[in-house]
Symmetry: C2
Subunit: 121 residues, 2 copies
């Protein structure tokens, strides 16, 4: 049993460009069995990968729509993680079980900034 | 009153690179008044902008964490929208009212693909 990791809070801060982002936007099927451990395993694999910088992941339970963005120092790190991720997905009866549909955008981040609310407000 | 638009379902499909993505990851404050009309206005402004390609937006009501990714043909379109968006935010008492914190990543998308589940499964 892999302990859950908590990628959502706090959100990933601004990073020093250049770096890369993998945007994974998905709609889940109604099949919940075995999904959470798989998702946790995939994120744990990502976090162990050289070149991993962070991940933000949000799913709206009502609509089943989710966005996960992972951040990487270089494309080699993304490729290595994808090989692992594909392997795990295959072991778990395949993506078709868990996803109605998804889109992946792989991008080169050129600029980043963040905002923190003044507590005095 | 601007009618709500529904950016979440269906999710934006794979697009022809190159294009650009603005990843906006945020944690909301507990202030809800006036937020939804503002968010809808911002998205409606985006959709009217030349070079706009699409948006995906998800927020987990429980954690208050959200990710919105907008897609654009070129950087000029992003710049024009940001000017509008900043203007609207300023009119609505500012970002500090609605966001505890947020991070923006501006990226150049080089690859995109999608998956649609086979209905027969």
């Amino acid at each position: 049993m892999i302990a859950p990791i908590t990628p959502v809070t706090p959100i990933t801060p601004a990073l020093d460009p250049p770096y890369h982002a993998v945007i994974f936007t998905s709609r889940r099927t109604s099949i919940t069995q075995d999904y959470d451990p798989l998702a946790e395993t995939m994120l744990a694999f990502a976090a162990r990968q050289p070149g991993y910088l962070g991940v933000d992941s949000v799913r709206d339970p009502a609509s089943g729509t989710g966005i996960t963005v992972s951040y990487w120092r270089d494309e080699a790190a993304i490729a290595a993680w994808r090989r692992d991720a594909d392997h795990r997905l295959a072991q778990q009866s395949g993506r078709a079980k868990f996803y109605e549909n998804f889109t992946v955008h792989i991008a080169h981040v050129t600029r980043s900034y963040d905002f923190q609310r003044d507590e005095a407000l």
